[in-house]
Structures are given as C-alpha cells and as structure tokens.
C-alpha cells in the first residue's frame, strides 16, 4: 500500500500456439542443454520473459511447462531455451533425452511483463542468480551486450561446482570484452584448486561487497531457488535498497531447490 510496484504497460497480444523447429542443441553442463528453436511467428521478446512448451502424447494427454528465454531479443526468428534435466520432470526429460535437430516443439509466448529488463530501463544493474536461475538473466546480459548499454552491470552467480556453471565460457569472454560488466562466481559445494571466487552460499557480506559500488539506485533482478531468492532479496532490503527496485523470480519446476 505504501509503495507502488512499478509496472510497465505492455500492449496485450493474444498468444497463439505455434510449432517451432529445433535447429541446434548445445550441452551446457552435465544436466543442462540449450535448445535453439526456429519460430514461424517470432516476435521480439523482452529479456527475462518465458515461453510455454506443450507436449501431447499419442493418447492426447497434454502437459505444459514454462521455460525462460536465454537468447536476446536481437537474435531474430528464433529463441534459445536453456533447460535443466530434472529426474522427475516429464517435460525436461523428454526435451533432453528425445529431442533432436529437426524435431518440432509446440510453444507459445513470450510471456511475463515484470521480471524483464530492457536497455531503456537503465541501471546500474545487479543480477543475482542461483543455478539455472541464470537463464533469464543471461537474456538480459546478452541484450545488454547487443545494444552496448551504458549502464554498468554486475552478475553474482551461485553454482554448486565449477562444472555446474552454465554459460561459463561465454560469461568469461563477455567479461573480458565489455568493461562495464563484472562477473562474480560463488561455488557452494566444491571448488577447483586455485579458485579465486567465493566459496560459500550468498550472504549479506558478499552482497555488500558486490552491490556497494552501485549505491542504492541499483536495479536488482534475482532468480534462483526460493531460499536463495528470499535471502538475497531480504539482504538487499537490509542494505537499504528500496523494495520496488528489486525484482524476483523463483526458478525450477516447483521453486524448491
């Protein structure tokens, strides 16, 4: 009541199902793949949005899941969905174990109008991710790069192990290429010898170190398991960041790590 959530008016558009075609499959980590899908009716998305994927079995049973878009809106005609394979996931196991180049996938989108960042919204931009929560933030980073945004961006990314870091090489390359971008990793389970990043779960001290140079005007986007999102959002509020500058999205099929 005291605060007003800032929202951007979006022109509503009816979302029709369409049949996409798999044009590329990339293994990101042991349990994560990126599917590049060509869309007959592609429309530019806003970085942070998602698509719904619908599978239909021969008996007509249908099931749907939402997946964040990993690609930037500047990558036209296709989208990339980065999907973690979940042992119990009836859609993610199908995508991982069955889908190959040339296959068709039914989907509709883009969906979601709050957990989005576009260059005109400015910064400085603090992105905090846990695990596959990096995906919508990666769309923001790629968009940031594509439009050569002037807003400084810092990514704080928590993974279990070095091998679990999604987009590791691309993040390293972008960090070296763009002076306005800084990337901070933390590894919570195990870390390689000589690792110079953080080695613990994100805590208030880590947040302070990463966020401090941005002052209280930063725009924060947090995506990951519920516990991480709660801790980081509460932590940023306690560091004096106004709640309305903090946008959150819980990741994973059920939002539970």
């Amino acid at each position: 009541m005291e605060t007003e959530l800032i929202k951007e008016e979006v022109l509503p558009r009816i979302l029709e199902w369409q049949i996409s075609t798999v044009v590329k499959v990339r293994q990101e980590t042991q349990s994560v793949k990126t599917f590049t899908l060509a869309l007959p009716n592609w429309t530019p998305h806003r970085a942070g949005q998602h698509y719904d994927v619908r599978l239909t079995d021969p008996d007509g049973y249908q099931t749907q899941r939402s997946y964040s878009i990993a690609s930037s809106p500047e990558q036209k005609g296709e989208i990339e969905l980065t999907v973690e394979r979940l042992e119990e996931g009836e859609v993610s196991t199908y995508l991982h174990d069955v889908l190959i180049i040339g296959d068709q996938v039914e989907l509709r989108g883009p969906i979601g109008g709050y957990f989005v960042w576009e260059a005109h919204m400015g910064g400085p931009l603090l992105l905090v991710a846990g695990g596959s929560g990096i995906v919508p933030l990666m769309a923001m980073i790629r968009h940031w790069c594509a439009v050569q945004s002037n807003s400084p961006v810092r990514l704080l990314y928590s993974s279990r192990t070095y091998e679990d870091i999604i987009y590791r090489e691309e993040l390293e390359r972008l960090r070296l290429e763009y002076s306005g971008m800084e990337v901070f990793h933390t590894l919570t389970r195990e870390h390689p010898q000589g690792w110079d990043g953080y080695t613990r779960r994100i805590d208030i001290q880590m947040l302070e170190e990463v966020a401090k140079p941005f002052g209280s005007n930063l725009k924060a986007y947090i995506c990951g398991p519920t516990a991480l999102v709660e801790d980081v959002a509460n932590g940023l509020v306690s560091l004096g960041i106004p709640a309305k500058q903090i946008r959150t999205e819980r990741f994973g099929p059920t939002g539970v790590p």
């Binding site: 009541m1 005291e2 605060t3 007003e4 959530l5 929202k7 008016e9 979006v10 509503p12 558009r13 009816i14 979302l15 719904d52 619908r54 599978l55 079995d57 008996d59 049973y61 249908q62 099931t63 749907q64 899941r65 939402s66 009836e90 199908y94 969906i111 979601g112 109008g113 709050y114 957990f115 519920t226 999102v229 709660e230 959002a233 509460n234 940023l236 509020v237 709640a243 309305k244 903090i246 946008r247 959150t248 999205e249 819980r250 099929p253 059920t254 939002g255 539970v256």
Partner: protein, 194 residues
Amino acid sequence: MQSGLPDRVPPGQYLTSDFPVLSAGPTPRTSLDRWSFEINGLVRQPVRWYWAEFQRLPTSTYTVDIHCVTKWSKLDTRWDGVSVDTLLESVEIDPDAHFVIAFCDGGYTTNMPLNEILDGKAFIGIQYDGAPLRPEHGGPARLVVPALYFWKSAKWVRGLTLIEKDKPGFWESLGYNNHGDPWKEERYYGDRTD
C-alpha cells in the same frame, strides 16, 4: 508422460507435493502491531480490523485444491481462515459494487468479480497446515480464492476495495488473463473468457 491424473487437475496442470513460492519482489515484513485489514470502496461505511481484532473473528478450516498459472497444482491444502462472507457481514454493500480489488503490502493488487468471492468461495487464510502462514507464502494473511488461478489468492493482503467497474490488477495488466479460471485455462490475455 504422466497420465491418468485425477479429474481434480485442470487442463495443462501437473501435480506437486511441494508448496512453491512465487512473487514479484521481496517478501514484505509488516509487524503485526501495524497490520490491519480493511474493506472500503462501495460500502456505506468502511471497516477496519487490527490484528488482535482479526484474530477474534470466527475461523473455519478449509481443505482446497490450488492451481498456479505456472502449471503446478496442489491438492488438499489445509488452511484456517476467516470467510470473506463473515467480513462482508460488517459492511453494507452498495448495489453498484460488482467487482473487488484485493490490495496488499508491497503494492500488489488483483481483481475479480465480487460474486466469485461470496458464498463460501473465498477466505482470508491465516494458518496453513495448522501453523501460522509463513511470510513467503503470504503471511500473516492471504486471500485464498481456490476457484481461480493462485495469483488471485493475493499474498500479504491488507484489504478489499469494492468497485463498480472492473479494473485490472498487477498481473492482469502484465499479460495475464483478467479472469483466470483454471478449468477454462484462462492463463493469459486473450485466452477463453466467457
């Protein structure tokens, strides 16, 4: 694939046994001594309860199925709460009131037809599974409207505003369906609305 789901699961939904958390921003922390619940708008006299008063209102136990637009459904969730009917007994409703906006800590709003929260169809949940409702799930108090997608069940609810003409709330103006009936799969703007 999972088939033969109980007929209590609406189209496009899957069952979960967890209780996922979804929200747009940080979890608000309002201390109970500053908490109140208000009914205003098209009523003869607005009414407000502070936490201690709200606690003394008659509660019921509800066992309901909940359906989130992000596709998960959870069956037989158990709540204790105050019926919206009970709350509305304290006001005289203007005959022009046809819709309601739920407003919340943090600025969230959601809209629905007034008649869809009457006659036992909605309550203000203050306990989940026998314990005080946790803040990340909307505690201290959450509007629960089981017949609509769960974003209509506004977390951290602080009151209801009765209005004449419908007005989209937070998600309803961000591409989500204005009505949100899971059985008609009214997920997004333009999905079937009768």
